[in-house]
């Protein structure tokens, strides 16, 4: 039997709870806003996917603010990066959504934590600059745990008193799909009964502008034109912050506590491009193999897929590679599952992207709809034969393929199905 998803939590540019995220996806409402970094309006980066309701620009947690719904003690805050704050809020939501209390998971050796984070470039820079200013004599004692790439697993493991598996993943834009995949494997192997999977990313000059220097970001100032995956005029991605968490459980354990299964994690696969440190393989070779492996893991074929959540970040090279891979998998077999590129609405949240998409697929299955392709005008020629509806569809998918690709050519794909659809 396949693991089941019993809870979801969202801190995203398109909403900070399940209902508002679902509404944004159904209505094609984007969360991209004008943004100025380092007080420099002359930068080419004009917009970003900004999380609302949080103020986390300062390197000091004492200056932060967040919604009143979350009670976070200062001994927890002192070790957090801004994206750690997002992550705790998302996990709290996911636990509540799954009908779990903190006390249900605290000290439970069958609960595991699977985190995806790239660390906090802002805090790392701030803390090291502080240390260098005094020639190494002193530094923030929380500098390491708040800023390096393991910051989410360190902090969340302590905060939630996790005593099962605790691990972190750093494969850039594929990392939270990796986190979900390895959580599924540990559940299948019987190592744990319940997994908290969370990806998070902060949005600030230190996290985003280095991508501008790679020429990877859109220069558009109109939010409706900046992130337009698969469009012939796409010119780069729009950065985003946020956190998304999902609770995945052994189906018997979930059933025993009468939890409602929103969807099942039917299979996953990964394959690498072996091609470039940053650019996708021009024909999406690794992504195609990852999709095939995910289908094989779920013991289904391409014709069983009735919806695809594309990685599509709105970069010329990346979207082309994915379009080619999707055509090989589907169009070559005369299959046309609707493909959705939700980064048109959210922007690209890097470490949070994979689990965010997976959670969107869960909402689609549970809510009976498929997101569309907001902002798509004329699709590039490479998309010929792909079904790219502009508006969302009022049709419930039963078996969804969700794609992720990260730097170094890591590709991770998940098959997410309606509960009971694929028994595994």
């Amino acid at each position: 039997m396949n693991p089941v998803v019993t809870g979801v939590g969202f801190i995203t540019p398109i909403g900070n709870d399940r209902a508002s995220v679902e509404r944004s996806l159904r209505e094609g409402r984007h969360g991209i806003s004008p943004a100025v970094f380092l007080g420099n309006p002359d930068l080419h980066v004009k917009v970003a996917g900004v999380v609302k309701g949080f103020e986390v620009d300062s390197p000091s947690w004492r200056d932060w603010s967040w919604p009143d719904d979350y009670d976070i003690p200062k001994e927890v805050l002192r070790g957090l990066a801004p994206h750690g704050l997002y992550a705790i809020c998302a996990v709290d939501q996911a636990l509540a959504s799954a009908g779990l209390k903190h006390s249900d998971i605290a000290g439970d050796p069958t609960t595991g934590l699977y985190c995806a984070s790239a660390g906090s470039a802002m805090l790392l820079h701030h803390n090291l600059a502080q240390m260098r200013a005094v020639r190494g004599v002193r530094g923030n004692p929380m500098g390491v745990v708040s800023s390096i790439a393991g910051t989410l697993n360190f902090n969340l493991a302590a905060h939630y008193r996790i005593t099962g598996t605790v691990c972190g993943f750093v494969s850039a834009c594929a990392s939270s799909s990796h986190a979900l995949g390895y959580a599924i494997d540990d559940l299948r192997l019987g190592r744990i009964q319940r997994a908290i999977v969370v990806g998070a990313e902060e949005l600030n000059a230190d996290s985003l502008l280095p991508f501008a220097h790679m020429r990877a970001l859109s220069k558009q100032r109109d939010p409706r034109k900046a992130s337009r995956p698969f469009d012939v005029e796409r010119d780069g991605f729009v950065g985003a912050g946020g956190a998304v968490a999902v609770i995945v459980e052994d189906p018997r354990a979930a059933s025993a506590r009468r939890a409602v299964a929103l969807a099942s994690a039917a299979g996953w696969g990964q394959a690498a491009d072996g091609y470039s440190v940053a650019a996708s393989h021009p024909e999406g070779a690794g992504l195609l193999l990852a999709m095939e492996r995910a289908l094989a893991d779920a013991r289904i074929g391409p014709d069983d897929i009735d919806h695809v959540s594309a990685h599509a970040t709105s970069t010329p090279v990346g979207d082309l590679a994915e379009a080619v891979a999707l055509r090989r998998l589907f169009t070559s077999r005369n299959l046309r599952p609707p493909v959705a590129a939700t980064k048109a609405l959210t922007g690209h949240g890097l470490s949070v992207a994979g689990v965010m998409q997976a959670a969107f697929c869960i909402l689609s299955i549970a809510g009976g709809f498929m997101p569309g392709n907001a902002h798509l005008g004329v699709a590039g020629a490479e998309c010929e034969g792909l079904e790219l509806p502009r508006d969302s569809l009022r049709r419930a998918p039963t078996t969804v393929l969700s794609n992720s690709s990260g730097f170094g050519g890591s590709n991770v794909c998940h098959v997410i199905a309606a509960p009971g659809k694929i028994t595994g």
Binding site: R62, P73, K74, E75, R78, G79, Q130, V134, V137, R138, G139, N140, P141, M142
Partner: protein, 119 residues
């Protein structure tokens, strides 16, 4: 001690009450060692972990760990704050020897006096 501007302030104290800022300025401008106490006590209260019950009145004999709920990380944060604020260095031996508010204040004053002597 190096000369300081008459309105010496520190952004790290921005969240503290006016009397704490004034005490810090008094120390920086006049070298008033007695003013250090107000800053140290304010920092101790500020860095005290939450969730350990209501704060007892802070007195000379108040114990950082047993009375105020400090853990080793909170102690390290407090020490870093005071080191940065007063530009001094507390060794591990100094930190281990401090159990009460009075001992912390004495330790900081001793280090500051050492700075004056070596300045």
């Amino acid at each position: 001690m190096a000369p300081v501007p008459p309105n010496a302030s520190n952004p790290a104290l921005a969240r503290f009450p006016a009397e704490v800022l004034e005490a810090y300025q008094r120390y920086r401008t006049q070298g008033d060692a007695g003013a250090v106490e107000a800053v140290v006590i304010a920092a101790v209260v500020d860095y005290r972990p939450s969730g350990t019950g209501s704060a007892p009145a802070v007195a000379d004999g108040t114990l950082l760990i047993e009375d105020l709920g400090y853990d080793s990380v909170a102690v390290a944060e407090l020490v870093f704050f005071l080191e940065d604020l007063f530009d001094l260095t507390l060794s591990n031996d100094d930190i281990v020897s401090v159990r009460t508010i009075a001992e912390l204040r004495s330790c900081v004053n001793r280090k500051l006096a050492g700075k004056v002597r070596t300045a």
